[in-house]
Amino acid sequence: MSNVPAVVAVNTFRESVRDRVLYNLIFFALVMIAAAVVVGKISIGVDHEVIINLGLTAISLFGLVMAIFIGVALVYKEIEKRTLYSLLAKPVRRWQFLTGKYFGLLLTLTVNTAVMCAGIFAALLYVNHKLVRSDAHILVAVYFILLQLALITAIALFFSCFSTPMLSTIFTLGFYIAGTFASDIRGVGAITGSLTLKIVTSMIYYLLPNFSNFNVIAVTAHGYAIPKALIALNTAYAAIYIGAVLLAASAIFSNRNLK
């Protein structure tokens, strides 16, 4: 049945929506944006940049917290509470379940990001009483944050297929930090002059998700446009990386004994 992932996704979204922790995160994100307004007011001349900078950082950070902490528990919770047993006794393949869980969380993150993004525009309107043309670039920055969250969610889901939430959190955070500095890791290899180190660091660079490519917060805050080529490249990169991670997760999970 082709709509199985969609059925699971909608239920996962419904679970997140009914989960109070999620509302708390939105609340804190909105507080963060309110703080941006206050900081913006005391930052003479650069209030516009400060609001965008702080607002986008808040979206990114809270999204990251949600993606990791909900993502690592997605599969584990279903196994621990044995809700998965009755589900897999239905005509549901394990990859369909995983894909459904993934897109369910992604839908949650998208809705939350959209709410927070609306918060930034509200803050800008409140401070400037108008929106300018360059504010549209915020949407591209938010889209990149979403791509980044989609990548992190896939990685968190991958680890949750065979590990505990605690370890999965550590692994996913490790991937995120290493991925943020992926270019620097390759740079280290290049300046050492050692061919072996260069090959190794290049391999690490290509294996790790390159999160730095998605960070356009500072550029957006200064009102610069994001090149269309970068949008296309980041979209393709995220799609391919996520596809590969979900395939690996499905392969592992499909062979796992659910004790």
Partner: protein, 319 residues
Amino acid sequence: MGSAAIEIDGLTKDYATGFWRKKRRRALDGLSFEVKEGEVFGFLGPNGAGKTTTIKLLLSLIFPTSGTARIRGRSIDDVEMHREIGFLPEQPYFYDYLTAREFLDYSAQFFGFNAAERRERVARFLERVGLATAANVQLRKFSKGMMQRVGIAQAILHDPPVVILDEPTSGLDPVGRREVRDIILDLKKQGRTVFFSTHILPDAEVLCDRVAVLLGGKLQGVGTPREIMAIEVQGMEIHFELAAGQPLPAALANRATPTGSLYRLEVPEAQLYDTIEQLRGAGARILSIAQLKPTLEDYFFRLVGREKGPAYSIDGSVK
């Protein structure tokens, strides 16, 4: 009853244990038997006997070390076969943020019913398991018995020919047990095959056409409850009364249990006629003589208490 609904052939499951996962623990050892279409089949054994392991193997929640199984002629590896089965897990726990109606609607969506069909089915099965009034209550507020009933509803709402229930009456109060038993009997009336595991033996005695007994991962026997219980003759039970002031024969004095003016006596079958003569000689009035029939519980306790021996078959259905 005719062809096999469930065929299990040499199912074996080993788990890796120890820090290096190099040791092996055998949870199930060469299990083979068949469940016929339309029968209520009890899968008995104490905790840790391998009942849930078997059920998990049938549902491909875990994978066998060796052996195969088929349900209605289709391999257990075939996920599409799951359209023909319904499953209630042990101590069911479902999405507690959903109401009973939402949960059943969610379950029905995996079987391709459209919205109107789902509405009708969900309402019908909520009524059938006695939860119509709790349809809009979140599952987190459900009692254990209610959870069990909603679990049964999700297992049968697509009308599967084979229903697999893992400990369906475990942890329920007498009323809850009775309700679940009635649902199982109802399923049998509809011609469905019901395969359920239990360690509550009176339930198996009341419900099952046949039972299989599992101990330490090994099949101990398969047969009707009557066949299982008739393995060993237990003896004879005599109820009698004595005239006032009449003493008991010395040979029986230590063996007879007085209950008011009546006595109860258990004797081996071979000694029945000698005992009757002795009682007649003492002027006793014999009220009843009955064969002592062992219960499934007796059989079970004997199995648990004895040394682990080779599996033996009781009827021809054991492979």
